[in-house]
C-alpha cells in the first residue's frame, strides 16, 4: 500500500468550549456555532466570560455541580465533565473564578463534524466563534476545510486580533469573516478590552481588501462607548472599499454579562435608528439593527 502522506500529518486539535446546533444570529441562515475556548480581549461587557481562559483544573467547580457531572480524575487530577449527566444549569461556570469552564474539550475537526452530522439537513453552514477563534489558527483552518468538504461552509466570528494577512490558508478556507469593531477610539478600546484596537482596524482593512468580510458589528452601550464615532469610522472604511458588507448594530443586553455590567441600560430605538442613519449616510446599504 502506498502511504497516504496526509495521514501522517499531526491532526490539529482545538479547545472547544461548546457546540450549539442551531443559531439564528451567527450569520445567514441557520448555522451551527462552534465556540473555541480562550480570548485575548477582556471586554467588560463580555456575554460569555466563561470562554475567556483555559481551565486550570483548580477543582472549585466540582462540588458546585448539582447533577454530579463533574469529577476529578485520578492520576493527574484533571477536572472531568460527563455530558450525559450535565443538565446545562450553569452552576459550574458561575462557580469558576478564572473566566473558564470545565466543559471545554480538546477535539479534532472530525469530532466536531461528527457531533453535527445529525443536524446536517438543517444547516446552511457553521460559524466558528469564541472566545476568540483566531487564537487557534491551525485548528480553525483545519475545521473550516473539513467542514467545507462536508458541505458546510464556515464563517469566522472574530475580534480581529489575529494577523489574518499572515494566515492565507485560513483566510482561503473561510467562507467569510464577521468582525467586531468595539470602539474606534484607541483609549476607549483599551478601557473596554484591555488592548489596542490597531490590530482590529488592520483586520478590517485587510479582510475588506481580499473580499472576505461578510459582516462587521458594533455593540452599542450608551454612555460607555462613543458609538457615533465608531459607526462613523467603520462606515467610512467599508464604504471606501466599495464592498457589499453588512453592518450589524447590536444593542447591549445585560443577559450573561458579569454582575458589574448588568445595570447598564439597553439603547432605545431612537439611538439605534440614528446610528443606522450614520452608516447609511456613509453609503452602506445593508445596515441591520438587532
Amino acid at each position: 500500500m502506498i502511504p497516504d502522506p496526509a495521514a501522517e500529518d499531526v491532526v490539529a486539535r482545538g479547545v472547544v468550549a461548546k457546540i450549539l446546533p442551531f443559531s439564528a444570529v451567527d450569520g445567514p441562515g441557520n448555522r451551527a456555532v462552534v465556540f473555541l475556548q480562550g480570548c485575548d480581549f477582556d471586554c467588560r461587557y463580555c456575554h460569555n466570560p466563561e470562554t475567556r481562559a483555559a481551565c486550570i483544573h483548580c477543582g472549585e467547580c466540582v462540588p458546585a455541580c448539582p447533577a454530579r457531572a463533574l469529577s476529578i480524575a485520578p492520576g493527574p487530577g484533571l477536572v472531568s465533565w460527563d455530558p450525559a449527566r450535565c443538565t446545562g444549569c450553569g452552576a459550574c461556570v458561575a462557580a469558576c473564578r478564572h473566566d473558564s469552564s470545565p466543559k471545554a474539550r480538546l477535539m479534532e475537526p472530525a469530532e466536531v463534524l461528527s457531533a453535527l452530522s445529525r443536524y446536517r439537513p438543517f444547516l446552511s453552514g457553521i460559524t466558528v466563534t469564541g472566545g476568540e477563534c483566531g487564537l487557534q489558527p491551525e485548528f480553525l483552518e483545519a475545521l473550516l476545510r473539513e467542514s467545507r468538504a462536508a458541505g458546510l461552509p464556515g464563517l469566522v466570528d472574530t475580534n480581529g486580533s489575529a494577523d489574518y494577512a499572515a494566515l492565507p490558508g485560513l483566510v482561503e478556507a473561510a467562507e467569510g469573516f464577521m468582525l467586531d469593531v468595539k470602539a474606534w477610539d484607541e483609549a476607549e478600546h483599551r478601557a473596554l478590552t484591555g488592548v489596542s484596537n490597531s490590530a482590529v482596524i488592520a483586520s478590517l482593512r485587510f479582510l475588506l481588501s481580499v473580499g472576505k468580510l461578510s459582516e462587521v458589528r458594533t455593540v452599542v452601550a450608551p454612555g460607555l462607548l462613543d458609538a457615533e464615532e465608531t459607526v462613523g469610522g467603520v462606515s467610512a472604511i467599508v464604504a471606501a472599499s466599495g464592498r457589499a458588507v453588512r453592518y450589524k448594530l447590536i444593542r447591549f443586553r445585560p443577559q450573561g454579562v458579569r454582575a458589574a455590567w448588568r445595570d447598564i441600560p439597553t439603547p432605545d430605538d431612537a439611538t439605534m435608528a440614528s446610528l443606522a442613519a450614520i452608516a447609511r449616510g456613509a453609503g452602506l446599504r445593508d445596515v441591520v439593527v438587532v
Binding site: 442551531f22 444570529v25 441562515g29 438543517f122
Partner: protein, 496 residues
C-alpha cells in the same frame, strides 16, 4: 334555558354565528345513527369523540372541490361562464366559496389559489389590487379559520402577490400552506414564505414530495391541504373525522399489556364501526351525493371521498404506561409511542368500507389537534407544551410519527421575534424538518398578533375583544380563547 334560546340571546355571537348555532341545535333533534352500547360507553368516557360533527350528517365534513375544473368550465348551476380576466376569476371563486359546505358551514379548502389565478395575472398592479380584494373578501366573509388555501410548489407571480398581500393584511383567514419540494420550490420564494410566516403565522410548509408520493401510491392522484393541515384527495374530501383520545383510553386498561391486547384493538374497532355508521348515513341516506351541484358538475366525485381516523393524546397515553419516563424526552417512551401508532395504523389499514371507493375503502389516519375543551390532552403525536426539548431534538423526535398520517399531522414552533431579521434561518429549519420526514411544519414569531392555536389561526386582539364581551367576526376566536386557557397554547417554548 333551552339550547336554542341560549344561542339566540348570546350577546357575543354575531348573526351568522347564531344561524350556524341554531342549525346545530336543529340537527341535534334528530338521532338517525345506530350507536350500540359498547360504542356509547367509549363515547361517554371521552375515548371516542366525533368532534361535535352532529347527530345527522348532511354534508361531508371536509369538501375539497376541483377548482381547476370550475375555472375551465364554469358552473351551470351557478350560471357562471369560465372567467376571462383576474376580476372575473376572483369573483367566480368568491361566488363558488359561498356554496361549498363543510362541518363549519364555510369552505375548508379554497384551492391552490396561486395556480388558479396565475393565468389571469397580466398587469401586476391590477392583479395586486384584485388579489388584495379577493383575500380581504375571504377574511371578512368566510368567518372561520378552518379555511385553507394552498400555494406552491412552483413560484409564480400570483404566489408572490399572495404572500406579500398576506403580510400586508395580517388576517387570520385563510389558513395558508406552501407545498414545498426541495429542488423544485425556489429558495427566494420559500424565503419570502418564511419571512411572511414570522409576521402572520402563515404559510406553513407542507412536504409536497411526501404527500404527492403517498396520494399517488393510494391511487388518489392530486391532493390538497384543507382545514388545519389535512391532506385530502382533490375533487373529493373526507366524509367524517372521528378521533380516538388515547389519553382517555389509557385509564380504561389495567396496564400496558391489557391496553395493547384488549383496550386498543377494541376501541379502534368501535371507532371504525362508528365511522362506518356516519359514512353510511351520509352516503346512503342524507342524499348529499345525489343532489349537490358540486357532485353533478364533477367538482367533487363520490369515489374521491375517504374518511379520517383521528387520534389525539398519544403523549399522555405513553406517559401513563412509562413509569416516569416522558414522551419526547426518553427513547423508550418514544419507541412505545411508535409501537402504539404502528398498531393503530395496521388495524385501520385492515378495515375496509364498501361504501367508499377511495383508497380501497380504507380510512386515512389523522393526528387530530384537539378541541377547545380538551384539558391535559396533547394534539395528535405532539410533545406536550411545557416539555418541549431543544428545537433540533424536538423535530427529530417528532419526525418518525409523521409518515403514518397522510390526512394530516404537524408540529408548531414559536420563534423569538429576532428571527425576523434572518428568515433564511427559519427556511433552513423548515427544509431540514421536511428532509427529516416531517410532513407539515408551522412557525410563528412570539410577538405576532395572528397566532397558530393548534392548527388554525386566531388573532390575539380578537380574543381580547371576546374577553371584553364583544362580538368577534370569526367563530374560531372563541375556540382559540378556550384553547389558550385550557391547552396553554401561548406558552409554547420560544426558540431563539
Amino acid at each position: 334555558m333551552s339550547p336554542a334560546l341560549a344561542v339566540i340571546t348570546d350577546r357575543t355571537l354575531t348573526y351568522q354565528q347564531k344561524v350556524a348555532g341554531l342549525a346545530r341545535v336543529g340537527e341535534s333533534t334528530e338521532s338517525p345513527l345506530r350507536i350500540g352500547p359498547e360504542l356509547r360507553r367509549y363515547i361517554d368516557a371521552g375515548a371516542i369523540c366525533d368532534l361535535y360533527e352532529g347527530s345527522a350528517p348532511y354534508r361531508p365534513r371536509y369538501i375539497v372541490p376541483d377548482y381547476e375544473r370550475f375555472m375551465s368550465r364554469g358552473s351551470a348551476f351557478l350560471g357562471l361562464e369560465p372567467p376571462r380576466d383576474i376580476w372575473e376569476a376572483t369573483a367566480a371563486l368568491l361566488v363558488l366559496y359561498r356554496h361549498v359546505p363543510s362541518i363549519t358551514t364555510f369552505p375548508v379548502y379554497l384551492g391552490d389559489i396561486d395556480a388558479l389565478l396565475q393565468p389571469f395575472v397580466a398587469d401586476e398592479a391590477e392583479a395586486r389590487k384584485a388579489i388584495g380584494l379577493f383575500l380581504l373578501s375571504i377574511d371578512r366573509t368566510i368567518n372561520d379559520s378552518f379555511c385553507h388555501a394552498d400555494i406552491g410548489p412552483d413560484a409564480t407571480a400570483a404566489g408572490r402577490l399572495i404572500l406579500e398581500l398576506t403580510r400586508e393584511q395580517k388576517n387570520a383567514v385563510p389558513n395558508l400552506s406552501l407545498k414545498y419540494e426541495a429542488g423544485r420550490t425556489p429558495d427566494d420564494f420559500a424565503a419570502l414564505a418564511a419571512s411572511v410566516a414570522l409576521e402572520v403565522a402563515k404559510p406553513s410548509f407542507a412536504n409536497h414530495a411526501m404527500f404527492g408520493r403517498e396520494f399517488r401510491d393510494m391511487g388518489l392522484g392530486d391532493y390538497a391541504i384543507a382545514s388545519c393541515y389535512n391532506g385530502l384527495p382533490k375533487g373529493g374530501g373526507s366524509c367524517t373525522l372521528v378521533r380516538l383520545n388515547l389519553a382517555k383510553a389509557a385509564p380504561l386498561a389495567a396496564g400496558l399489556a391489557d391496553f395493547s391486547s384488549r383496550v386498543l384493538p377494541d376501541v379502534v374497532a368501535r371507532q371504525l364501526e362508528y365511522m362506518d355508521e356516519r359514512v353510511r348515513f351520509l352516503v346512503a341516506e342524507s342524499g348529499f351525493f345525489e343532489s349537490s351541484f358540486l357532485v353533478k358538475e364533477g367538482l367533487v366525485r363520490a369515489d374521491r371521498f375517504s374518511a379520517m381516523f383521528g387520534i389525539v393524546g398519544l403523549a399522555e397515553c405513553v406517559n401513563a404506561f412509562s413509569g416516569g419516563a416522558r414522551f419526547g424526552k426518553s427513547d423508550e417512551a418514544d419507541a412505545l409511542g411508535l409501537e402504539i401508532i404502528e398498531r393503530i395504523a395496521a388495524l385501520v389499514a385492515a378495515h375496509r368500507t364498501p361504501l367508499l371507493a377511495a383508497n380501497g375503502g380504507a380510512y386515512l389516519l389523522h393526528a387530530q389537534v384537539g378541541i377547545d375543551d380538551d384539558r391535559g390532552v396533547s394534539p395528535g403525536c405532539r410533545i406536550p407544551i411545557g416539555e418541549e426539548p431543544d428545537l433540533p431534538e424536538h423535530i427529530l423526535r417528532s419526525a418518525p410519527f409523521h409518515r403514518f398520517f397522510p390526512s394530516g399531522i404537524g408540529d408548531v414552533f414559536a420563534f423569538e421575534p429576532t428571527a425576523k431579521a434572518n428568515p433564511r434561518h427559519l427556511l433552513d429549519i423548515a427544509k431540514g424538518a421536511l428532509a427529516s420526514g416531517l410532513r407539515y411544519f408551522s412557525a410563528y414569531a412570539a410577538d405576532a398578533d395572528v397566532v397558530r392555536i393548534t392548527g388554525y389561526l386566531v388573532k390575539r386582539s380578537e380574543i381580547e375583544r371576546l374577553g371584553r364581551g364583544e362580538q368577534s367576526l370569526q367563530d374560531t376566536t372563541a375556540l382559540g380563547r378556550n384553547a389558550v386557557n385550557n391547552l396553554g397554547v401561548l406558552e409554547r417554548r420560544i426558540r431563539s
